[in-house]
């Protein structure tokens, strides 16, 4: 082999080949999310508003109802006028969050996850430049984001919604994708394992959502600290504030630069944080599968718990007095009174906030339960199972942490939210009790996700990671199902729809018992299947 020149050209060598490989690996998932995040804009959202609220008066009424509900505004954002586009695409504000999830998974999958398994090293030792992997991954994610936005625009232009607003919405959607692609690119450089990198990127996304939610539910200032807030502040169909898109572009450029600078400074496979020497012998705590599982899970458990607590704190801070913000507007006052007064508004806001926390805790449960799958795939599971540790004990060691970990995280968030709410309301004991009960009642639905994950792991080990798709499917159905007019039995499949919104509605035992029964059955089936099958 002749000497290879080291320079700007060679560092990108092989980018095109890698990009082709990535596209091939993603040939099903990538087009799927691109279409799911664009086509429904016209076929579902605008179409449904045209049939449900055909006149401007209908839409004005709907917009006023929405704006009077802090919970709705926190979840989906504000409605800025009564046009078809603004009201019709109001719920599609969540698409900015969903495209963030999609690009984060895409970028981490092709960068840090590759590097961690050593496949990237295999590629890099062939004729592939240093920056080729990151560049190809970013090109893929950027390209998919822009394409999603353009398809969305094309679809929206076929509707009666105002064209310039449609272009603004599509570009903002693409902008959200760009920003979180670059967030993921930075996260991928920070940690040595894909799980933590994904965690960092999702933490940023979660923080962005929390800031936007709290901002939009209150004065709006906090929304400007969040890229998801910017996307809504473009205000499509209500002024089309194009300059806001510059925030997306500048942030993307800045974060991408940071990612390349970090990549240049580190070795392949290494993270930013250097390893220090550790103990030469194992402590007594590290003597069995449960001690091992605790060591493996404790870091991410702490991170998830802190994340959920921060969100809980934000929620608890803003919830008190939510219904009194529009005290001087008689129309809204009347709507609020019809909804049950300020306390009822606070309760419904809390219920929505905790259903978001529940989804997050369920994601934590999936992530923790998938440890089993990862340990098995990396042959580390075999290392434990060829000692005197039985299969059930090993599986239980991780499953227990998935179950208790998600419970600890959401209950801790409940404590933080309850205290903040209680202090503001001057009734700590009552409010803490209310919020804790709300946190606790989420658990049976949360646990179904780790239960589904282990069931997949036991029965179809090759498809264990489909658990993520199940969670995303549940969330999509849960959030978007009501507007799309899905059949009721389909919505009933989503565990979160069976969580009761206490204290707004009376507590019934049956839904809780059924959910717990299904959780237990899934876990039992999973363990029985795992005991019978070959390890991989």
């Amino acid at each position: 082999m002749t000497a290879v020149a080291v320079g700007a050209n060679t560092t990108l060598t092989g980018t095109r080949g890698l990009l082709r490989l990535f596209v091939r690996r993603d040939r099903i998932v990538l087009p799927l999310w691109m279409l799911l995040l664009s086509v429904p804009l016209s076929t579902v959202y605008v179409a449904s508003i045209e049939s449900v609220s055909p006149t401007a008066a209908d839409r004005a009424q709907l917009a006023a109802t929405i704006m009077s509900s802090s919970a709705q505004r926190a979840l989906y954002g504000n409605v800025y006028n009564d046009s078809i586009g603004a009201v019709g695409l109001w719920k599609a504000g969540l698409f900015h969050l969903l495209i963030g999830v999609a690009v984060i998974l895409t970028v981490i999958r092709h960068t840090r996850a590759e590097e961690e398994t050593g496949r990237a090293e295999l590629l890099d030792s062939t004729a592939v430049g240093r920056y080729a992997g990151l560049t190809a991954a970013l090109l893929l994610a950027f390209g998919a984001s822009v394409a999603t936005g353009l398809i969305g625009i094309a679809c929206l232009l076929t509707t009666d919604a105002e064209p310039s607003g449609s272009v603004a919405f599509g570009l903002a959607l693409a902008g959200s994708g760009l920003v979180f692609s670059s967030v993921a690119a930075v996260a991928a450089q920070l940690s040595t394992n894909a799980r933590t990198a994904r965690g960092i990127a999702f933490a940023v996304l979660g923080a962005a959502f929390a800031l936007r939610a709290v901002g939009d539910a209150s004065s709006g200032t906090l929304s400007w600290l969040s890229p998801l807030g910017w996307s809504l502040q473009v205000r499509p169909y209500a002024g089309d504030r194009w300059p806001v898109l510059l925030l997306h572009l500048c942030t993307t450029a800045a974060l991408t630069t940071v990612a390349y600078l970090l990549l240049r400074r580190r070795d392949l496979g290494a993270g930013l944080i250097a390893d220090r020497p550790g103990p030469a012998t194992a402590s007594p705590a590290l003597s069995g599968p449960f001690g091992l599982a605790w060591r493996l899970h404790r870091g991410s458990l702490l991170a998830w718990t802190i994340g959920l607590c921060l969100y809980g704190g934000l929620v608890g801070n803003v919830v008190y007095g939510m219904g009194n913000q529009w005290g001087d507007n008689p129309t809204i006052r009347e709507i609020i009174n019809r909804l049950g007064g300020s306390t009822a508004i606070e309760n419904s806001f809390l219920a929505i906030a905790f259903s978001i926390l529940a989804v997050t805790a369920a994601a934590q449960g999936v992530s923790a339960a998938l440890r089993l799958h990862q340990e098995e795939a990396a042959q580390r599971g075999e290392a434990v199972l060829t000692t005197a540790v039985g299969r059930i004990r090993w599986a239980a060691s991780h499953l227990v942490l998935a179950i208790t970990g998600s419970a600890v995280a959401i209950l801790a968030a409940g404590v933080v939210a309850g205290l903040a709410y209680g202090v503001a309301a001057g009734a700590v004991a009552t409010k803490l009790g209310t919020v804790m009960a709300l946190a606790a009642i989420q658990l049976p639905a949360i646990w179904m996700l780790p239960a589904i994950t282990v069931a997949l792991f036991g029965l179809m080990p090759r498809f264990a990671t489909v658990a993520w798709a199940v969670l995303i499917g549940f969330v999509a159905l849960y959030l978007l199902g009501s507007i799309a007019g899905f059949p009721h039995w389909l919505l009933d499949l989503v565990p979160f729809t069976h969580t009761q919104r206490i204290p707004g509605e009376p507590f019934r035992l049956a839904p809780v018992a059924w959910l717990l029964l299904i959780d237990a059955a899934l876990i039992a089936v999973a363990l029985a299947a795992f005991r019978r099958r070959d390890l991989r």
Partner: protein, 295 residues
Amino acid sequence: MTAVIEVSDLHKHFGRVRALDGLDLTVNEGEIHGFLGPNGSGKTTTIRVLLGVLRATSGHAGLLGRDPWRDAVALHREIAYVPGDVTLWPSLTGGEIIDLLARMRGGIDEGRRAELIERFDFDPKKKARTYSKGNRQKVSLISALSSRARLLLLDEPSSGLDPLMERVFRECVIEARDRGVTVLLSSHILSEMEVLCEKVTIIRAGKTVESGTLESMRHLSRTSIKAELAGPPPDLSRIAGVEDVTVEGNTVYAQVDAGSLGELIRVLGDTGVRTLVSQPPTLEELFLRHYRVAA
């Protein structure tokens, strides 16, 4: 002598692939048994069946008189396993993993652990993610060798070790045997096997093609002879069992079956022998012979 491993007519199918296709293997107590075969011949699959990680499709596999699938947990207290490609928990140190694995197996000999760390020149304080392949292998070896196991299952255990460490490894295996531990050693390093193993089982495509002591296998095979004679060599090819005869002046080279060796020496003796070099077949020749026949 009692058999520690008894495998007969073992089959393991993965879909339509027959990874094991009627394999036989017997390992007696206290011996170091070599397990030889090309890549993909089923060595690792056999060991994974013996570990209860895979369930046999059919046939018999017995370990210490028990069923490796049903009695896996109880058996694993008596067994230590070293895989060919060791993966470790990146955030734990080597020392922690050595202890953890040994404790989960049912105990560690602290004295031997310290001694092995010294002899393998191993730094137990580093995080596992920083170890090279050889060092990862050492973690698994030290943990296995310092356990109180009665049976060691070693699947290409010395891959990645440098020659110095390879020698330490051989010494340790022999010491284990001297303690009464039975060893099943799957390896590609034939010289290692010749030094360590009393008995060898050679497999191909999931079937046992030959099994026995190295001595008996050699007996079945040809010895190569180089003789420098006093005068022109006689015609050796008329002796049955002598082949590949080449003559260079007064020097003759030939391959001879064990049964014809006496006859050959007599014929050579008639001419007068100045020097005689006789080489038993190496394991490599045995090995290649089996696979050349197959190919």
